[in-house]
Amino acid sequence: MKKSFIFKMLSLFMVASFALAACGGGAVTEAPAQTEAPAMTEAPAVTEAPATEAPSTEEVALRWRTRPDNQEEIDVYSQISTELDAQLDGITLTYEPGGTEGANYQDQLRSEVAAGTAPDVFWIPGTDVADFATRGLILNISDLAAQTEGFNVGDFYPGPMYHLTYNPETDASGADSGALWGLPRDVSTFALYLNLDLINEAGAPDPRELAKEGKWDWNAFLDVAQKTRALGSDIYGYGASAWWGPYGVWLNASGGGFFTADRKACALNTPESLQGLDFQRSLYQDYDVATPYGEDPEPPFRAGKVAMFQNGRWATPGVRTVDFNWDVVELPNGPKGTPGNWLFWGAYVINAKTAHPEEAWKLVQALTTAQTQGEVAALGANIPSRVSQEALDAFLTFTPPANNQAFLNGIADAAAPTAEGPLWAGSWPEFDKIMGPAIQGVLTGATTVDAFGTTICDEANKVFNQ
């Protein structure tokens, strides 16, 4: 009887401990700012920031999230969160790394937004901005920005800011558009990671030298790729992942692209786009210099079996661990004299349901200062999104690779990079799901370029204004 009573008491104690430990976590790390979703009302197409609240002396708890690529980035962002926590008066921060192997960052975030439990400030890729903005999921912070002394949208790269200041109600963009959806966390672009040992062994010219001499074009690229491919059946001249970024550059470089200039229709079937696609197809099908399309090229590159690996700055931390001589070079120039590179970016945005928009805006600004961006850039994964010679100079010091300048050349005005961006007049995810398999069909030889050009826009144009 006594033992039974003790067991009952112990069980009760354990359950109570669980409950109190759950609350203890909240009490210790501060409760999320948004404890429950406000009642849903008809969401306006464009969510305006709430009116300014009366100043409060209470400590405001904010949760924020950005997608890290590895543990080192998680550590840096955690450190940044701690520093900003100390800097921002009246604001307590909690950093949440998002996304795992089993839970895609964006999918998880969307679920939390739907459930009303998303953080106050979060990062989204540039392609998602329109979806989040037009559905009223993120705040339009243009009013808050207008009241902020010293804030200038011109401090950031114009490509991302075009989309981040796009007002879907007026089709206007820029500082006076009446829209500001967030600030870019960083920018990035593609370069070719070079296995210098393979290139030397093949007796191919050094792409970095060719680039300096202005001779780094598609023909020179093909020449290096073919010479290195000849080293062995398991050695490849070129490797790129299977998503829109890598194949898009070939279309851009020949003067084509995914969309028309106003981004309101498909342009995949223009002669320029098809020319770029055909050249890329030839790398896989005619010259057989590339790792099979659809296979991850990073493992073979790191195993020393790929001479030129196309990837963004984010691949640098991983490549730093290889045991061969390597460096980077900008993408080769296409028929139009530019490499057709992308200006990748993602933005810190503010949850439309945050209870503390002003504090969240302060946090977004703090996360995008030159100092904060420099701390992240030191990892070698990102380029600061502020247009500042100081930031660029600092970036050049984060070696290896020795030729960091290649990344900056990729985003320079002379290279005319195309800014990654959402579809304000359609659904980017659906466009991507139609375009990706069709391009894959061409690059794997299942479809001809002509057949692709004949049918692709019939299907892809359906995603506009659905």
Binding site: C23, E101, G102, P299, P437
Partner: protein, 557 residues
């Protein structure tokens, strides 16, 4: 006699209070029924208002019926009261926990509780110290007393440290702080009121006064024990199921109030066209309205052909891939399991070890397995191709052959991608199916085999004539469950393939597509419709299997 009289008086008092309480409850529930419609409570959409009002209306009517039955001293009144008060009690408890942010804090439980675990270990060590006496009695009484005392202090100290480390004090203060708001007060008051009502109605005197019989008490206790599971089922399974059925008739995007669209979602899924082609390569736009339809596939017939187009081609591609997956994955995971179970059923040494080995893939995490297979499948540096190359080189050198290394692009070639997923799925589910077959095999009476041996039957004849027929119920179960699982294939594809749809949509499956529609394209309504179509397909397949089982089963009573 006096005691009995006073008990009766108290019971009567309780019953009178219960009747009044039932009427008050009914009035409150009726007010709650109207609350969402007159602005007292804000709910996001009409379906939520209707649901809440309907539930409260039922509660109102039930409470009034309960009051009437109680006045008649009918036991039905007690059952109604207990049911309503129990449900309201649970609701208030959940609201209290939610108001105190227990559920949000659960995310941090692993960290906070983990901090305290070492100190819980101290408390457990203290308990064992005290328990030494039970197992190794001491001759010296003072030693025993000292051990008990030390044990108690260690347990107490361990618990205090544990509570301190898990932040129980902070947690309690935080919890109480959060409850200090109208919602919290109402919820706690609800717990007390409904709890008191439950307690009073559970009193034996009250039960006796309402003519409760033994089986009534058993029924109440039975439902009480069943209630956690039943409520969980209703709230987390049946509720969402019904909700998804409703959403399938709306344009819900999960963020904004949904609009009713009738059968539009289903119509889009099922909107297909067949058209004759005058030449095998005639364009789809020449024969169907390309603004509505996309080509799904074509069949070449002589100089012409047949085009299959659909308004949602991805659904039909997903259905094709899913059925193909089922067609191969089910036999590949059932037939080897059947053969393997016969081998493992033997009494050879080491069989138990191999039973465990073959079962291991079933308990391994799908994400981990898929990532490992991703590396194995890599066309350029993966082990599978590496060994294929080694093997071909070996045979070429040995026999002076010129066999070409196929360098299979397992996951990047549309011809092999789905097959790669099938291999993983079959490999993973084979172990579990083997265990099921083993259980079935061990239920077959040994006398049957002995009789067959006496009759001169060989191993094959025994397997074909005894084992297979006797395993029919197990086989039916294994095939049915494996088919249902295969129809819902998702994780392996989602992790293994990049992008998950695979080359030229060759690995897009129905669950993957509904996930993509609901969580990536913001089309929760459409995704719900896909889910219900998938349900109908699975239901149809299972029904066919049941009917075939009934026809062919000769060993069932």
């Amino acid at each position: 006699m006096t005691k009995v009289a006073s008990l009766d008086a108290r019971t009567n008092q309780i019953l009178r209070l219960q009747v009044i309480w039932r009427v008050v409850f009914a009035v409150l529930a009726a007010a709650g029924t109207l609350a969402p419609w007159i602005g007292w409570v804000t709910l996001a959409s009409n379906w939520q208002k209707i649901l809440v009002s309907a539930l409260l209306l039922v509660a109102t009517l039930a409470s009034l019926i309960g009051a009437r039955q109680l006045t008649r001293r009918s036991h039905a009144g007690r059952l109604v009261s207990l049911t309503l008060d129990y449900l309201a009690f649970v609701t208030c408890a959940v609201i209290t926990l939610n108001t105190g942010e227990i559920f949000i804090g659960i995310d941090a439980l692993g960290e906070t509780f983990g901090r305290g675990l070492p100190y819980l270990g101290i408390a457990i060590a203290g308990y064992f110290l005290g328990a030494i006496e039970d197992y190794y009695p001491q001759r010296n009484l003072s030693v025993t007393t000292s051990l008990k005392t030390v044990s108690r202090w260690i347990i107490l100290g361990g618990f205090v440290l544990f509570l301190w480390q898990v932040g129980a004090v902070n947690g309690l203060l935080y919890f109480l702080g959060k409850l200090a708001q109208p919602k919290g007060f109402v919820a706690v008051a609800g717990i007390l009121v409904f709890g008191f009502s439950l307690w009073s109605m559970m009193r034996p005197e009250v039960a006796q006064a309402l003519n409760a019989k033994t089986n009534h008490e058993q029924i109440i206790n039975g439902w009480l024990f069943l209630s956690p599971n039943l409520l969980g089922f209703l709230i987390f399974f049946a509720g969402p199921l019904i909700l998804s059925f409703y959403f399938s008739f709306t344009d819900s995007d999960a963020f904004n109030p949904p609009n009713w669209v009738g059968f539009d979602n289903y119509a889009r899924i099922l909107n297909v066209r067949f058209a004759w082609l005058s030449t095998p390569d005639q364009l789809a736009r020449d024969v169907v309205d390309i603004k509505v339809y996309d080509e799904v596939g074509r069949l070449t017939l002589g100089n012409g052909g047949l085009l299959f187009a659909a308004a949602d081609k991805f659904f039909w591609l997903a259905l094709r891939n899913t059925l193909t997956f089922v067609l191969f994955a089910v036999p590949f995971s059932v037939i080897p399991a059947l053969l393997l179970s016969n081998v493992l059923n033997s009494k050879l040494p080491g069989m138990k070890f191999f039973r465990a080995v073959y079962f291991m893939p079933s308990i391994a995490a799908v994400v981990g397995i898929s990532l490992v297979w991703q590396w194995l499948y890599n066309a350029t540096i993966g082990y599978i191709n590496y060994f294929i190359t080694l093997g071909i080189e070996f045979w070429n050198n040995l026999f002076n052959l010129a066999v070409v290394d196929p360098k299979i692009q397992w996951v990047s070639d549309e011809k092999t991608a789905l097959f790669a997923v099938i291999i993983i799925a079959a490999w993973q589910s084979m172990g579990f199916n083997t265990v099921l077959f083993l259980a079935g095999l061990q239920n077959i009476p040994g006398e049957l085999y002995e009789a067959a041996t006496v009759d001169g039957a060989g191993s094959w004849a025994k397997f074909w004539g005894i084992t297979l027929p006797m395993l029919a119920p197990t086989t039916f179960y294994v095939v049915s469950t494996t088919t249902i699982q295969a129809m819902q294939v998702f994780e392996q594809v989602f992790i293994l393939m990049n992008p998950p749809e695979g080359p030229n949509n060759s690995t897009i499956t129905l669950v993957l597509y509904l996930y993509r529609s609901g969580f990536q394209n913001f089309k929760q309504g459409y995704a719900s419709a896909i889910a219900w179509v998938l349900f109908i397909v699975i239901f149809g397949l299972t029904l066919v299997q049941f009917q075939r089982q009934r026809r062919s089963s000769i060993y069932e009573g």
